[in-house]
Amino acid sequence: MLGAPNIRMATKRTPEMEEYLELLVRYKEAEKQPKVTMLGKDLKLSAASVSEMLQKLKKKGFVDYEKYGEIKLTKKGEKIGNEILRKHRFIERFLMRIGVKKNKAHKEACALEHVLSDDVEDALRKAMHSAGAPDIEGKHIKRLVDLKKGQKGRIMLVSGGREVCRRLTDMGLTPGTKIMLSRASTKLGAIEVCIRSSCLAIGRGLAEKILVKVD
């Protein structure tokens, strides 16, 4: 049996360290270059305590970091960060699925991610699937912006604030609607989709807020 607390024993890491690694993985996903000031801002800590923690993480072999230099996750560090992030997202979804509000679910997930063991996570995941909930992490769910040219699917989720949702749904991007990407984005550019027998141009920022289940 390999539960999270057991792994932690083996590598002697604290929940704070896990928070750091999780955040570094999030930066990596967003293609942001991590900086001490960024970490300090997101964790609400001073630059001094951030660099102190980074030194500790370096000692453990989780990050490569020289003072004032680049902060880089090691393979080991990234693996742990990924695990924690996966657990965080799963817990958040699970809780929201059973009616917990988003904010509350996020806070709970921040605490629970450090104690949830892999096998209990698996069991909960199976229970959620048999209840018919979609697995957002699965291969077939993509952000609209990540679709390839000509790929078709159905809109799963439109996230974002009230105004954004309003505008997107007013233009016909409602959940369950068939959609096809007719023109893919260049690095930062807009995309074009076919939906409801017409064509829409959508800016990259908005297209990132739409999740699509690929056919």
Partner: protein, 642 residues
């Protein structure tokens, strides 16, 4: 009695074509009371029945996302036009019906004009108008607005509907949603509202802030219960209220559309081939640059010819007026001030504006304008705007005035304001005259290029700051990509005429007023006291000769006047004899930024109100002086060392 008719529908459905067909030259442009959105009205006499027609803005929904949506919603529900003609594009039926369903919910007496049936047929689609009419419970008349096919029949249906005065029944949704609607209806029973109760109930389920406030005013107690019903619905659907209701409405639209679309034999339309080229990630940009270049070039070549011709013929008129008015201070002010002002307006602004309005209308009507916005989206994001903002900005390099007018293609007030601000920073042709005539000629071309680069940097930095400083979120691009169309000359000229008409009425009084004021200052001999008063800034901070104060005042009228006056007052056109290189560069920087010209201020005032016009002008005066002073100090050391 006149029938009051409103035209409503999505953008790009041929609403303007129908409006132009119906009203011809009997049109009137104004603003919606207290708003900066244009109100276009016209009159029609159809077989003895007089009608007053209002062309509502092209919108996709009746929520309150944009000013246009709010205006349309208020007009339909409060002014209660006798008939609302809902123009619908037959080839994009589903999206269009989403809007039609909202009109029906609003209880408007709707007649549907099923437009572009010819284009739909070409696409391999037919729409069964009879069936659509039966499903919606309102008359549906197929028309082709550009040729006028079916318009007579449409107007007969309009007159019939106006006589009946019966409210249409709205489409019912799925059972559970209907149950929620009637529950909310119970809560708001007996309230006095401009809107039908079913519509209010639906908007409350959508969590529409505006409607929520209205109900709160009259019955604060009901709010809690209503929120509870909404939350119940949200939980059931697993979506936010607005998304749940829109989904429901769209699925109703889809259902109706599927029942009415008769044949479907989809062909690969021309647009796909064109788009493959025009939206290509490299070729597309080459084409875009070419189009921008052509537009630019033709505005200026046509503008130059027109301007020169007009100047010449107006000079004659001026001389004639002068001799007939005689000598004297009052004559000097009246003739000089008023004539110079009219001259500035007619001979400077109009020649560039007329080709601009025509070309803009062609680009818009053909569908290429939307493609330009698509291509430029990524770049415009850098300054917190989206693709559509590219169009006014590129036009501003010719003249800031059309640039400012062009800001109205953006959706939100915030984006319009930010774009207008950036537009006023762009060096127009007149500023280029100063840069080229002074800096490039006497200091060196590399310094002229340096000034353009400096300008670009300022635009990027101030754009970013403006984006952060303005309240509200930047909105992303979302727009329908219209089909390509051959532009209709009639539509283009009508649109250009309307724009020109409103410019003349708005800007001319201000241009004339400004000229008048400067003339008074000149005649009264206040010019040198003013330049003395300005000398701490011009001489002390900027290190320029004191007379520059006078030239800068004239530059407000037309920026190239600053240079012309400078030559006149210095007594030589060879600026290197009287000015150092640093002084010339400093002078050019001040001219580039210091204040939008009178015509631009006039348009800012028209589009955004006087507060914005004054605010932008004041900011730019301070900014230009501070920047030019700093650059002058840095350059002094540089030239001293060199």
């Amino acid at each position: 009695m006149k029938l009051r008719i409103a035209l409503a529908g999505n953008a790009n459905v041929g609403k303007s074509s129908l409006f132009n067909y119906l009203t011809d030259l009997h049109q009137h442009v104004g603003n919606w009371p207290g708003k900066t959105v244009e109100k276009i009205e016209g009159v029609l006499d159809f077989k003895g029945v007089k009608m007053n027609i209002v062309d509502l803005p092209g919108i996709y929904s009746l929520s309150t996302f944009s000013l246009e949506e709010l205006i349309s919603r208020d007009y339909i529900s409060k002014e209660k036009p006798d008939v609302v003609i809902n123009v619908v594009d037959a080839s994009v039926l589903e999206r269009n019906l989403f809007f039609s369903l909202q009109l029906l919910e609003l209880g408007a007496p709707v007649v549907i004009a099923l437009n572009m049936v010819d284009a739909a047929r070409e696409k391999g689609m037919g729409v069964n108008a009879k069936k659509l009419s039966a499903l919606l419970g309102v008359p549906v008349i197929p028309i082709v607005a550009t040729t006028g096919d079916g318009v007579g029949k449409l107007m007969r249906a309009v007159i019939n509907t106006s006589k009946k005065k019966q409210k249409p029944s709205s489409i019912s949704y799925q059972k559970q949603m209907e149950a929620d609607v009637s529950q909310v209806k119970k809560e708001i029973k007996g309230l006095k509202m401009d809107y039908p109760s079913r519509w209010i109930a639906i908007k409350l389920l959508e969590d529409d802030g505006n409607v929520l406030e209205l109900v709160k005013e009259q019955r604060p107690k009901a709010i809690e219960k209503i929120q509870k019903i909404r939350k119940g619905m949200e939980k059931r659907c697993g979506q936010k209220g607005s998304v749940a209701v829109s989904s429901e409405r769209y699925s109703a639209a889809e259902r109706i559309a599927l029942e009415c679309i008769t044949l479907r034999d989809v062909k690969v339309p021309l647009r796909q081939k064109l788009d493959a080229l025009l939206l290509h990630k490299y070729v597309g940009y080459v084409f875009l640059l070419a189009v921008a270049g052509i537009v630019f070039f033709s505005i200026f070549s046509v503008g130059d010819i027109l301007s020169g011709y007009l100047m010449e013929s107006l000079e004659g008129a001026k001389a004639l007026a002068r001799t007939s008015a005689g000598e004297g201070v009052l004559q000097e002010i009246l003739v000089g001030g008023v004539l110079e002002g009219v001259l500035a307006g007619i001979a400077i602004a109009l020649p560039y504006l007329i080709p601009f309005y025509i070309l803009l209308a062609i680009l818009e009507d053909s569908g290429y304008l939307a493609r330009m916005a698509f291509l430029m989206d990524a770049i415009m994001h850098k300054i917190g705007l989206h693709g559509k903002a590219f169009i006014p900005i590129i036009l501003a390099y010719g003249c800031n005035v059309p640039g400012c007018v062009g800001c109205k293609i953006l959706e939100t007030q915030r984006a319009r304001l930010l774009t207008a601000f950036i537009v006023t920073l762009v060096p127009c042709a007149a500023v280029s005259v100063v840069i080229m005539g002074l800096v490039a000629t006497y200091v060196g071309l590399e310094w002229a290029l340096f000034l353009y680069a400096l300008n670009l940097a300022v635009i990027l930095i101030l754009g970013r700051i403006g984006c952060k400083a303005l309240p509200g979120e930047p909105v992303g691009l979302i727009m329908e990509m219209p089909s390509y169309k051959v532009p209709m000359p009639k539509n283009i000229f009508m649109q250009a005429w309307r724009e020109l008409h409103s410019f003349v009425f708005m800007a001319f009084p201000i241009i004339i007023g400004a000229t008048f004021l400067i003339k008074i200052i000149e005649v009264m001999g206040w010019l040198s006291p003013i330049s003395d008063a300005l000398s701490p800034i011009t001489v002390g901070w900027l290190g320029l000769p004191a007379i520059v104060g006078i030239t800068l005042i004239f530059g407000i009228l037309r920026k190239e006047l600053a240079l012309i006056m400078l030559a006149a007052l210095l007594g030589t056109g060879v600026f290197s004899e009287v000015l150092t290189p640093v002084q010339m560069i400093t002078f050019a920087i001040v001219t580039m930024f210091y204040v939008p010209c009178a015509a631009t201020i006039a348009v800012l005032n028209k589009e955004h109100g006087w507060k914005v016009a004054v605010g932008i002008s004041a900011f730019e005066i301070v900014f230009a002086i501070v920047l030019a002073g700093i650059v002058s100090r840095i350059l002094s050391t540089y030239f001293f060392l060199a």
